[in-house]
Subunit: 212 residues, 2 copies
């Protein structure tokens, strides 16, 4: 009897949170420790900064090419931020998912909504919250060496982001980074076991039933 | 500022599998290691066997009382098996969920379908498969000291059960019991983090936003 292989389709993991909830730390730990997940690479029309690598940090495009791709529907999501365009090209993500690799996204609620329209079945949406208002204030103040208007804008953005927590499936309250990370790993491990991501199952089950 | 407590509503975990896939072992390990989950106790009209304890192994009812409860809609699911009635009383399960405790069910696909009609939001459905047809045959043969007709009935039941794998959300292939158990734990941990099971979140988030 031949062995029937079961493969899984990759998933798209969105981590969203207000600034100061620990998202960057959790993302980095996940990417460092889990060989099956990779960071999504965005396209942008902004100029490369020193040290940024094409295809690793961003795909750098001019505004015309970005527009052409957008008109062709070649982005999973896109947005204009401070006069520059940003977007997630569909093709590399689709290729990764088809190979059974997961893709991690660092996008806000607006990008998440667009992903949800493009590929709801592949999407796993996790929202990270700080453990308390005091702790959130403390963490945001620590970064407040910036001018007052920048700090105010960041606070407003954080408040806006938090207001969309209901659009996410999972909530992690980050009061202990090790526990929060273990929770994130559990979500990923569980979501990889979802029946709808598995291919080859129906043949495998057919073979099991024939043996009975 | 007062701390706002977030509570979670418990969940109903259904483990289903054909005989010989390792469900009993996994259930026992889960109950032994996780203080937040308890086994559902069924009601039955069959006579107690020696050593069986009322309210722990079963709630023992006569046929009349069982019928009254069923007519009142007091079972989450019920079935007649070999002339006896079995059912899951709603009240103890609902009490456990409200207290944030999870309930484990050992029921077949028909019971699972009834639970899914009663309480789809609370339900987490996991199907356990053996790693191969050879392995399944081996495990079923090991139990085959029984008369041939009993063995045949068990095989037919296993085949029937497997044919419903598509009604389950998660699939665990039990080729290594430690790995399968870790997967089951991950599913449970992840499902406990689902936003829809959390209460107190909206007030918590309101407090966070007021701090910004």
């Amino acid at each position: 009897m031949t062995e029937i292989a079961i493969h899984r389709r990759g998933l798209m993991l969105v981590l969203s949170s207000p600034s100061g909830a620990g998202k960057t730390t959790l993302s980095r730990r996940l990417l460092d420790s889990d060989p099956e997940i990779e960071m999504s690479v965005s396209a942008t029309t902004r100029k490369p900064r020193p040290g940024e690598v094409e295809g690793k940090d961003y795909f750098f495009l001019d505004t015309e090419d970005f527009g052409i791709m957008r008109n062709r529907g070649e982005f999973l999501e896109s947005a204009k931020v401070f006069g520059n365009y940003y977007g997630t090209p569909k093709k590399p993500v689709e290729d990764a998912l088809a190979r059974g690799r997961d893709v991690l996204f660092d996008i806000d609620w607006q990008g998440t909504q667009q992903l949800d329209e493009s590929a709801p079945e592949d999407l796993v949406k996790v929202f990270i919250l700080p453990p308390s208002a005091q702790e959130l204030e403390k963490r945001l103040e620590r970064r407040a060496q910036d001018p007052a208007d920048i700090v105010a804008a960041r606070m407003a953005k954080a408040s806006d982001e938090i207001s969309h927590y209901q659009e996410y499936e999972y909530i992690i309250i980050n009061d202990d980074v090790d526990r929060a990370f273990a929770e994130l790993q559990a979500i990923l491990r569980a979501e990889r076991l979802r029946r709808r991501r598995l291919t080859g199952l129906s043949n495998f089950v057919k073979q099991l039933r024939e043996a009975l």
